[in-house]
Symmetry: C2
Subunit: 343 residues, 2 copies
């Protein structure tokens, strides 16, 4: 299986993440992908290549142009305001307030943010753009005939909405790749999101469409980020009704329960009959993850990789979350190995 | 003029405020009211008394019961989650998300917050309750026949909405006092808000009502907190249409311009004919304020106090913002002295 990877992710290294009432070293850090890369090389799963350039056109297919311009210029505006350190939102359009976009960078940041744990720095835009190109390059290899590919994306993408960032995400790599398939010959794409967190951004982007079926297994929003979306009754709207499926699960959920939700999701994907499957591969379902509450073990990742492989679809894996840093490599590659064994 | 003051404000002293990409010592700090108290005693404006207890009934008249319960229990829930330091929101109901109230404290905090610069600590509820009682005790003295009174409130109140905190505010002292007047014989109350920031909370609480006329002079929302409310076209709705008046002004606004807006607001208040006038007295319009952009000088505060006094209405002054700490006392008391000279 081909892996695509860019060193540009090192350009995104904020000082701190807002967590538990203080600024702490970010859970979403470069070491995460270093461990994945090391593990990939140990297991000899396949070649690791650099991404190609795609420009911004594929991003505009799923993101708002004003939002992209904001991401590109935010650091300049932030420093021109006399600020430093990292960009963090302090105010947002709350209930019963207006949705006009302010002029001041504090207001703009709040308008385009959906959460405050996610810091931006000078290199964030370049890192996010390269991460999207990692996804696109891997997608292109599948369009060109490969049965599977892995985009080792960082920063991750599934929380990035049409016009909002947060949850460590800026550009929605999975949505950008899915749209790329649809724009290059595919009629239907399924996006399966086994990351611990609900992929609110991906849901947001495809919520009213039938050509992309989004399915997510995640910690119930009552108790898990992003808290205000990801309920089971969110099934899509308009043309998209029936093409959004959420499987929220409570604290302590073991693999025996989780795999049943996965089996149901895979069965629905099979009936949908997509031309290609995109996997938002987060491994924060792991029992030792520091900010999540499911109980998957290392071996479970290989098992569920096999379940995905049994579908027999062209499959694009894109890296999302996973914060038990030293085990992120083993768990991620276990999914890919399980898939490859079965495929 | 009677001043009401409670030492309970010392119970609210968070470690940090989220500002410019880092946690800094809070701009809204105990020293602010110490300087006001010192200046009051120097000028011998009148007695300083402790507040009476009023219980929570007057708070429930303007705030949501679930919100009050949240404020009371937030610190306990925060520490039970294993968190410490101070309560800071990291996620909120963003565009196209749901308004269900989550179970986890992170979700609850985000649901009830409208900004992230405002930290809560163990003593915040008690300090906020005492601050409201300071306002109510001062209001009661006016109901009992005094021509004017000053509630030296801390924390301030005008950003606190029916069910949201932020902008250093938890309970809306001005709204609670205005409602107290209406519940105790007044037919109409005007609330004039010369604080640099728009009092989004007070506007929110009275937006659909004709018995409270809210008028605010403030930094334009395009460039000033709270950024998503405070535009001139917000004139009230339903029964409240015509009873909300915003005077947003741009960076650098001098007193010569500001006083014309004030004169217009006072003229409208005169025509409204309220039984009592509540002043949200922030002095962050001062030229040296570190987080604001108007250009009032120390003498201007005395001048505009006189303009308010010339209305001849029973008048309740309640402390709001002002962050040029060492001059907050002089500027605040100048407004009261100007009022007293004219009254």
């Amino acid at each position: 299986m081909l892996t695509v990877y860019s060193e540009d992710h090192y350009l995104h290294q904020p000082e701190g993440e807002l967590y538990a009432g203080q600024l702490v070293p970010p859970f979403e850090c470069p070491k995460r992908v270093e461990f994945v890369l090391d593990r990939l090389r140990e297991t000899d799963l396949g070649r690791v290549v650099d991404p190609e350039a795609f420009g911004e056109a594929p991003l505009e297919r799923v993101h708002d142009r004003g939002y992209l311009d904001f991401l590109k210029s935010a650091w300049r505006q932030w420093t021109e305001a006399g600020y430093g350190h990292q960009i963090l939102p302090t105010v947002w359009p709350a209930r019963r307030q207006r949705l006009r976009i302010p002029e001041h960078i504090d207001g703009k940041v709040g308008y385009y943010a959906l959460a405050a744990e996610t810091s931006m720095v000078e290199g964030t835009w370049r890192a996010a753009l390269s991460s999207a190109e990692v996804a696109l390059t891997a997608a292109k290899s599948i369009r060109d005939g490969q049965g599977a590919a892995f985009g080792l994306c960082r920063p991750p993408g599934h929380h990035a909405a049409k016009d909002m960032y947060g949850g460590y995400c800026f550009l929605n790599n999975a949505a950008i790749a899915a749209q790329y398939f649809l724009d290059n010959g595919a009629d239907r794409v399924a996006i399966l999101d086994p990351d611990f967190h609900h992929g609110n951004g991906t849901q947001d982007i495809f919520y009213t469409r039938a050509d992309a079926f989004y399915l997510s297994l995640h910690g119930e929003p009552e108790n898990a980020f992003p808290h205000f979306v990801g309920y089971a009754d969110e099934i899509g709207e308009g043309d998209g009704e029936g093409f959004n499926a959420n499987y929220p699960m409570p604290p302590g959920t073991p693999f025996a329960v989780w795999r049943e939700a996965l089996a149901d999701a895979l069965e629905r994907i099979g009936r949908y009959g997509p031309d290609v499957l995109v996997i938002s591969l987060g491994v924060d379902t792991y029992e030792k993850d520091p900010i999540s509450f499911f109980k998957l073990t290392q071996g479970d990742f290989k098992t569920y990789g096999g379940m995905i492989g049994a579908l027999g679809l062209p499959t694009l894996f894109l890296m999302e979350g996973g914060y038990a840093v030293e085990d992120v490599g083993v768990n991620t590659v276990n999914v890919l190995l399980g898939f490859a064994d079965q495929g």
